[in-house]
């Protein structure tokens, strides 16, 4: 069925073409590098130096040390003002992410034992995620300040229970540490699906496919030839990306390189299957690239869990994500980099990806006939 000599000839041919083809180099080298840089620097959910306003309508000597705590915090860049209107306008204009207001009746309330003096924390709710962080960090500063006050003034209340918060796997809470590994799934999808989809469609358009088919070569050999060639290319790109991630961005690799290679290989196998399938069905580069973008790339960006949490999506969409191979790969990547070799998780994900791959290849074999009609 598969003749090794013919297969080797096809692979050699493929590499000769890759070396001379601009778009292959663009997709395999330039694009992944650019994307890695973008993900490494551009996509960050780490908030620091958030610009907020502070209005002290009341001098509130009590709260002064709290104000100082806020100003000193590395999370905030505080703009202190007396004119509430101006600060409010700044929030509306988007210059400030929020404002803290010590209202005019603050000291009054402080003097009464039956009232609690409020400090208003207003966040610009346009971006709920950012708003949550504003609130959380102000809250954390407040909590820290309360701890101090406790020793001095004996307040208790909410301090009664002391939550010890531990983050496993990413203690420094650097969002890059989870975004970058996940982004590798995106780049692999690009190579696996987009590149292969284009390359086969191109053979059809240029007429070389027809010439090949008239020889003794079988359609499995043609597919296998492409598969192996781009597999090698993809793995090389993967390894380069991994090294870039680890050494340029300092993301730790706590799992084994072997496990990483294994999951990468299986994912690439799946992505290539998708790419080959698209191009066999499309036969035309335009349609192939459209399909690859819509069926492979966008879902891996939006629905793989690398940035947007799957469990937060509505249930029907969560079901959709089960069909997306990138979802499983992202889980492997985040785990292998940040946690370590958690075999039950890794093996489960690999098995599922492999299963999806088998489905793609089964359809592919059915559709691949050495015929022109």
């Amino acid at each position: 069925m598969v003749n090794p000599r013919r297969l080797k000839a096809l692979i050699v041919k493929e590499f000769h073409q890759i070396v001379r083809d601009v778009s292959s180099i663009l997709i395999c080298v330039v694009l992944p590098t650019v994307l890695l840089i973008l993900y490494g620097f551009g996509v960050s959910l780490d908030f620091k130096n958030m610009k907020i306003g502070l209005v002290m309508e009341d001098t509130a000597p009590d709260a002064q040390s709290f104000v100082k705590a806020l100003v000193d915090s590395r999370y905030f860049n505080v703009d202190i003002g007396r004119d509430r209107k101006r600060i409010e306008q700044d929030v509306v204009d988007g210059k400030l992410l929020g404002m803290v207001v010590i209202p005019s009746y603050f000291s009054q309330f402080r003097e009464r034992t039956d009232k609690i003096a409020p400090i208003q924390v207003i966040a610009d709710g346009t971006n709920p995620n950012t708003a949550s962080f504003v609130q959380n960090y102000v809250d954390a500063a407040f909590e820290g300040w309360l701890q101090q006050q406790y020793y001095e003034s004996g307040w208790r209340g909410q301090l009664l229970i002391d939550p010890q918060i531990r983050y496993w796997f990413n203690e420094s809470l650097d969002s890059r540490y989870f975004i970058l590994p996940g982004s590798l799934a995106i780049t692999m999808t690009l190579i696996g699906a987009l590149l292969t989809a284009l390359v086969i469609a191109r053979e059809w358009e240029r007429g070389t496919m027809e010439s090949l088919m008239a020889t003794s070569v079988t359609s499995s050999e043609i597919m296998l030839g492409k598969l192996l060639s781009y597999f090698i290319l993809g793995m090389v790109s993967f390894i380069l990306s991994i090294f870039f991630t680890i050494f340029a961005f300092g993301v730790p690799l706590r799992g084994s390189l072997l496990a990483l290679m294994l999951s990468g290989a299986v994912f690439l196998f799946t992505a290539l299957g998708l790419g080959l399938l698209i191009s066999t069905l499309a036969k035309n580069q335009f349609v192939a690239s459209q399909a690859a973008l819509n069926a492979a790339f966008l879902p891996s960006y939006m629905l793989s869990g690398f940035l947007f949490e799957i469990s937060s999506m509505p249930v029907p969409i969560q079901w959709m994500t089960y069909a997306i191979p990138a979802r499983y790969f992202v889980s492997c990547l985040q785990t292998l980099f940040l946690a370590g070799n958690i075999w039950p998780l890794i093996l489960k994900n690999i098995a599922i990806m492999f299963g999806i791959a088998l489905i793609f290849y089964a359809i592919l074999v059915k559709k691949m006939v050495k015929r022109l009609d």
Partner: protein, 370 residues
């Protein structure tokens, strides 16, 4: 300026786009699909959280605390762990995002007026989400503590934070995403339409016919830009209507300025697309080129992650990304009744970017003929 040549060209463009099955497909199906799926998928919201609870306390208070977590709306899946050893596999295998571990002396400590502690273990692999979860959990614990203090008549702290959320009081993530999607989907549409327009003619061989005819290069560019612009505007309007009706997002600002902004935004994008189209000789090259331009644009625009979090040098780069300005306007006009001067502040860069690109396209138009 408007003459029969130009009109014929514009009319032809519309017919060609509509009648080419491939273009038609690209026009209609993906944007709508993307709008509805991504509006829900592209969320940094935190809900449906899976939680593990290890309660080593035997007393009533431990039990009550567990009850509080169990009943909280965010935590939809609660697994009760039986021992310390179960924590590691639970976290490692991502069976939940957080484990709440209550110490054995919890109730006793609280009953005697002492501090008690609980441990929150969170999965740092999803650090953004779990920081927010930590926030929720701390909130719940704090309320519980205040309850206990109140009943036991332990003095409370007399100062409290009062959180408020402006513009989006219920913190609905779609209110943020959908105005952003309006920008992105219009962007994708405008780029693809304009990028394909000239490349398609080159591929079909009809481009030469256009060049030989009395049409001026500027007329050809306008003839290609107008239909793309109109179609993108229509799409923007459809999404706008969907946003207000289906997603029920309030529209607080000036509709007039919003449309003006959308128009300028689209024109700046079309400049980029036409530039691309002039440089590429096949449609497939144009699509790849469009993709290479689009992905960084979306990443750098502040759609999903804030521009403020980027390093300074990268923030400077975002000044040439048109989408960045439009997102500010779109979100502002929907939710904040964004003042006119802010809108204008974000419009003039669009004008400059558009002018530069359109001029580039016109210049390279003839240059490419060699």
């Amino acid at each position: 300026m408007i003459n029969s040549r130009l009109l014929s060209l514009v009319k032809k463009e519309f017919i060609a786009i509509w009648r080419d099955k491939k273009s038609r497909f690209v026009l209609i199906a993906p944007p709508l699909l993307q709008l509805f799926i991504f509006a829900f998928a592209a969320t940094l919201d935190v809900t449906n959280i899976s939680l593990g609870i290890l309660n080593r306390d035997n007393g009533e208070k431990g039990f009550l605390l567990t009850e509080k977590f169990y009943g909280a709306p965010y935590f939809t899946h609660v697994t009760f762990l039986k021992s310390d050893e179960e924590i590691a596999p639970f976290m490692n295998e991502q069976k939940g995002m957080m484990v709440l571990s209550i110490e054995p002396l919890f109730s006793k400590n609280l009953d005697s007026g002492d501090h008690a502690s609980v441990e929150l273990i969170l999965d740092g692999r999803k650090s953004n989400t779990t920081q927010i979860i930590a926030g929720y959990a701390t909130q719940i614990i704090r309320e519980f503590a205040q309850d206990v203090a109140h009943r036991e008549e332990i003095p409370q702290q007399p100062i409290a934070l009062v959180p408020r959320y402006w513009f989006n009081p219920n913190q609905l993530y779609q209110w943020f995403t959908v105005p952003g999607l309006l920008g992105i989907l219009t962007l994708v549409e405008a780029v693809i339409l304009s990028a394909l327009s000239i490349a398609r003619e080159k591929e079909m061989g009809t481009f030469d016919q256009l060049l030989v005819s009395p049409l001026l290069p500027s007329e050809i560019l306008i003839g290609k830009a107008l239909p793309a612009c109109l179609i993108a505007l229509i799409e923007g309007t459809v999404i706008l209507i969907a946003a207000v009706t289906f997603f029920q997002i309030p529209f607080t600002g000036s509709l007039l300025f919003f449309y003006a902004s959308m128009l300028l935004f689209i024109l700046s994008i079309i400049g980029i697309g036409l530039f691309l189209s002039v440089l590429c000789s096949t449609q497939q090259q144009a699509i790849l080129g469009a993709f290479v331009i689009l992905s960084p644009s979306v990443l750098l625009s502040g759609f999903a992650t804030p521009i403020e979090n980027m390093p300074q040098w990268m923030q400077t780069i975002t000044y040439i990304v048109p989408l960045r300005y439009f997102l500010i306007i779109s979100r502002g006009v929907f939710l904040k009744d964004l003042p006119i001067h802010v809108i204008l502040n974000n419009l003039w860069p669009l004008v400059i970017i558009g002018a530069v690109n359109l001029t580039g396209a016109a210049l390279f138009f003839r240059r490419r003929l060699q």
